[in-house]
Amino acid sequence: MSEHIEAALVLADGAVFRGTALGAASDTWGEVVFNTSMTGYQEMLTDPSYAGQILVLTYPLIGNYGIDPPIDESRQIQVRGLVVRSECDSPSHPRGGMRLHDYLASAGIPGIAGVDTRAITRRIRHEGVMMGMIVPVDEIQSAQQHLSDLPAYDTQDFIDVGVSEPYSWRDGGPQALVNGAGETGPHIVVLDEGLKYNILRNLRRRGCRVTAMPPSAGVEDILSVNPQGVLLSPGPGDPQLRELQVQTATSLIGKLPIMGICMGHQVLGRSFGADTFKLKFGHRGGNHPVLEVPTGRIAITAQNHGYAVDPDGLQADVEVTHINLHDQTVEGLAHRTEPVFSIQYHAEASPGPLDNGHLFDRFLDLIESVSGAQGD
């Protein structure tokens, strides 16, 4: 084993955490966030919602079961950098042969290992999320100066994280757009602002025809393919910068059943008149309890978001259906009369608990009831 190269994570508040370099030998910068899931590092690394962010994993032993490329959640690693306490250089799993380090290196993504990730997490929890850099140790000083010049996460437009061209989802992966004529099952348009493939797998498993469209797709583009429903997907960045998608959503309400997930939920919230705001350190993990208001039942959910919907401005015909029990923030909305609902958390899991797949069923039920009504 070669000698470890020393690296450091430098935070915007001046804190420095020294460790060893992991993955690609390059510098990186981004908003530093933490996720408390104990499994699912590969799914997190490839989750487009982490674009622009350096991900700190609070679970200390990462890479134990290796990397299994077919379970990637998007076309590439999406995080800007990875911070772990220990990286496993000898993974063991019936499927995951590849080592985490090699996976990061081959994708050109740097990381750092051997740091006190709990201390970093506590700092972020107390101070809020902040920008940070992973650099070689001899660049610590310059990084500290450089950090103040970096563009704030909230000002960055991550629109390019979504796709630029529409595509179809077939079993196994994305494919060039096909005319789905002759295929059965409801046709869903998914506005891909940076979605995880498992959303599409979930729809597909339920017999849907799936067409993904870029976030720039307008109402006409969407309606032109005759979908039975629209899913507004998760994605990175501040929802305030998604005015176009908010307008699209607003126009679609009343025309088609809509389901929003994460960013899609925030976009819907804004189209319902609400504002969105940044959370101090976000919700990222697989253990958040969410109260389903109408039933009183609690769901354990997978979460990854830094912003939330402020319920104050919501129009009267929209109700808050889900509440995060940790901080009482909005986790779900539903229109009282239109077939439109949204959730802040990730029904598609991956990583995270599989308890919430029924939300896709709910979406399909809505579609069916609308289609059924139209058919009469």
């Binding site: 955490f17 933490f34 408390t36 899931s37 104990m38 499994t39 699912g40 590969q42 799914e43 609070t58 679970y59 200390p60 032993l61 134990n64 079961y65 299994d68 077919p70 379970i71 306490r85 220990s86 496993c88 000898s90 993974p91 063991s92 799993h93 019936p94 499927r95 995951g96 740091v115 006190d116 990730t117 709990r118 201390a119 997490t121 506590r122 929890r125 196994g172 993990g285 697989g286 253990n287 958040h288 309890p289 109260l291 009183g296 039942r297 609690i298 354990i300 029990l325 940790h326 899991a349 991956s350 990583p351 995270g352 608990p353 599989l354 308890d355």
Partner: protein, 1111 residues
Amino acid sequence: MDVVNVKTPESVLIIGSGPIVIGQAAEFDYAGTQACKAMTEEGVRSILVNSNPATIMTDEGVADAVYIEPLTVPVLRRIIKKERPEGLLPTLGGQVGLNLAVDLHEAGVLDEFNVRLLGTPLDGIRKAEDRELFRTAMRDIGEPTPPSAVVNSLAEAREALEEIGLPVAIRPAYTLGGTGGGFVRTMEEFERVVQTGLDASPITQVLVERSLLGWKEVEYEVMRDGADTCITICNMENLDPMGVHTGDSIVVAPSQTLSDKDYQMLRSASLNIIRSLGIEGGCNVQLALAPRQDVVAWPPESMREGGGVGVPHDEPLPYYVIEVNPRVSRSSALASKATGYPIARVAAKIAAGKRLDEIANQVTGRTQAAFEPALDYCVVKIPRWPFDKFEAGDRVLGTQMKATGEVMAIDRTFEAALQKAIRSLEFGGRTVLWEDSEAEAEPIKAAETPTDIRLWHLLGAVRADISLDEIAQRSGVDPWFLERLETIVKMERRLLAEPLTPDLMRRAKRLGFADEQIANLAGSVDERIREQRLAWGIKPVYKMVDTCAAEFDAVTPYFYSTYEVENEAEPEQGKRALVVGSGPIRIGQGIEFDYASVKAAQALRSAGWGAVMANSNPETVSTDFDTSDRLYFEPLDEEAVRDILENEDGGLNGNGGNGEVASILQFGGQTAINLAGPLTSAARPILGSSADVIDLAEDRKRFERFLADLGIPQPPGTAVSSVDEAVLAADAIGYPVLVRPSYVLGGRAMEIVQGVGDLARYVTQAQAAAPGKPILIDKYLAGIEVEVDAICGGVDDDAVLIPGIMEHIERAGVHSGDSMAVYPAPNLREGEIETLIEYTRQIGIGLGVAGLMNIQYVIMRELEERDGDVFVLEVNPRASRTVPFLSKVTGVPMVEVAVRAMLGEKLSDQGYPSGLWPSTPLVAIKAPVFSMSKLSGVDTHLGPEMKSTGEVMGVDTDYDKALNKALIAAGMAVPAKGRALLSIADQDKPRAMTLIRELGEAGYELHATVGTASLIRGLGYEVHEAPKREVGGDPDVIDLIRSGQIDMVINTPEQISSNIRDGFHIRRAAAEQRIPCFTSIDTAHHAVGAMLEGGADYHIAPLPDYTAGRV
């Protein structure tokens, strides 16, 4: 929200788990105590029943009504009739509690008194407990169980195999211990074993089951509330693959080799299962997950397509549901401590009608119990086996659990947590570096068999440079774990080869290397390494167990050490002291010491001091973060304890104080006491008796001189170091003599020797085991053994309070931990008691004891009409195992009084006089409980070596009732009528005559071996002679016991070695048949007496009613 929950009962009966036995240890004291607290918080009246006095749950103030009574249906019926509880909480008292709940239902008691079963519905219990119902229930919800078939012929077996596939396990029906069955991998083996199995089965039937040997074993702890919200608290992965009982497995939390896909798949299965069983509360699900196919081949060869190694990517890994425990369990205690999530407390609240989102998360203080803990560390549990005590025991691990206790360690890497856990085992100096000399020749062979030392065999194989792939294949252990062991071995090599630098030291510490290990490898000494380490600024920081991976601020001061950057356990201001706990439960150091540690922490807090607790045992109340102001989950060795103390010091210094945090060592058994010397050498203050006091009591020479100066007699004895010296000494002292090695305490390897032949054998063996170490020979005095616990006032207080005197039923020679002890002493004379008080006072003051002290005396009456002579056998300047028993029956809060004395409060100021505390108007008897049916190969006869794992108490208004209850509670109840087998050693025959007459007169059917039979005939009673096995009778005496034709065995061992074997088999057969077996004439005599003298007519009452004389 003011939601009034209609379901909340007004009162609840909680059934404890009874005595500590293998498979059911302190975890249920923790669970029950939590449940009682939860009931109090919910405003529900709690009624607790347990037969085990050494528990916190049976302490005053934990439950609203406490019954220390036998756990039987008739007893519980009487309690239910009297207390009329609205609900019964059956899921917190282990299997004992669960079984009793079912029995109470089946006996119609629950219906008769309108008692509602809370938590798990009866139907759910049945589905979980009954194999066939369970399989059906799992099939109904689509959860896979291992395929199996019951067959009656080889042809049927062949047919079944096509579905099931090799490898399979064959289990013949109705054979004892699975004789005739086995594990088969090939077709030839299959045909042969099925045939043998069919032949062995009296009904020609075998079970053919898909073998999962070598599959990964994974557990989930699951909770569900009445609103159907389901969560998992923790998952755990066993290092030992399937085939070893999970209680005997090394366990890691959370799972390490499961991908998110695997983790979530098994999590969902576990949630499905708890839903289908309708459990409201906690449950434990055990699953088997397919391992790497290069480690264990699966699916069976016959079913594999193409023979590829990989599994198709869109297919999830195969798994099977193995077992469900519809209650809190040992695993849930472990999971509670591993995560900080109080499973028992939450389960109890759910049973009382609360929803998960209505229960606060105590750890954060601001979130609810409705979430899943996130760990940011790694937890390792290692079982603690009793094979240091039972060298003859069968060490191979399988489906029968053998461990008495366990340790847990937390760190940020597996390597470090594992190494800390090994340090916590306190297994006779066996560090990570220990090597099994017997395994050296073929290390890989040794690693194949799961035993208590397989971990060391695996390390040995790694050190022998055997490829990890091969070790994985031969042992079934996942390569991930082996890689971690290799990391440790690589560091060992670096430490051996390289000069110690700050960088190397830091790396070693981060991998969990103890200073002692580093010293060994680097050729230095511990203290030097410690100094060097601190000089380099390498010291541990302490991180919090907070349930949420630092996502929220937590208020719970529960810490573990690690070598990282940020320390979260900043020293606090104010007076405080460290209570050192007692580590894993083992024979000789049981739950009694956890009781004392908990009480010590409570006493400190009530005296206005901060209580800091250190312990390594996850099953305990002491490691409940509620017990102390700060909990350090750490090994209890010098390094860890000094590190904790140094971390705690800062506050006082910062406060301008000059003191350092002191340690309290007298409550944690020998584990804590052993630290007195090292801590004193390190100039650390100790509260209570000093290291010198302890040394004075433990050093034979010093202690002899001390007693001689006081004029207090001891049985004559001396130390020898050769056979010749031994024979001379024994001749001078006179046989019988008590012999023991000088280098271990607590009855280990002690024997009573009757003659020169056995003496020579003993000395020769002991010399071989520990060359050069002296052997102690004492006169064996077969008198009345008496035990005294006392509290000494300490520095400026010469008061010595004796809360009570206990008399043993067995004469001296049986280890005090295995004796039945009676309070108040029934047969002592006033003059003898006065001597006991005076000696105790003189010894306490003379030694300079501050706090608790235990003295064992023997009283020899030369003439029956005169007071006997009192001899001192042993003084322990620490809390003894009788402290909880005596505290409860005397009403003196012994630990609290002792702690206050240590803190400088005079006994008189506490309201306690010097001398003997007046007896309470009750009779209480402490009886030992053994786990012998679980430890094959271990002889069950009572002797100077302690063998019991737990204890029960029988309390009543008179001796016979109390004794009868103690025996019922201990599972040793003498049947009122029935068949007794007697096999009495020659030296005991004179004393057995009264007993024989009593049995004969009472109309017992007597069976006996040859010699005893002629004695019985001689006394004029009818007797069936049972041929000894060595004579070759058919059926012989062993067959008689095994076929269920005997209800009680009285067998005393011959001292002459040649006869040992038959007696051994008789006792083993009785243990396995689970019938009472008395190996002391004294015990048998008293037990039969109690039965015949109206002991069956016992009372049932809450403990305070007995102490106050209200019964």
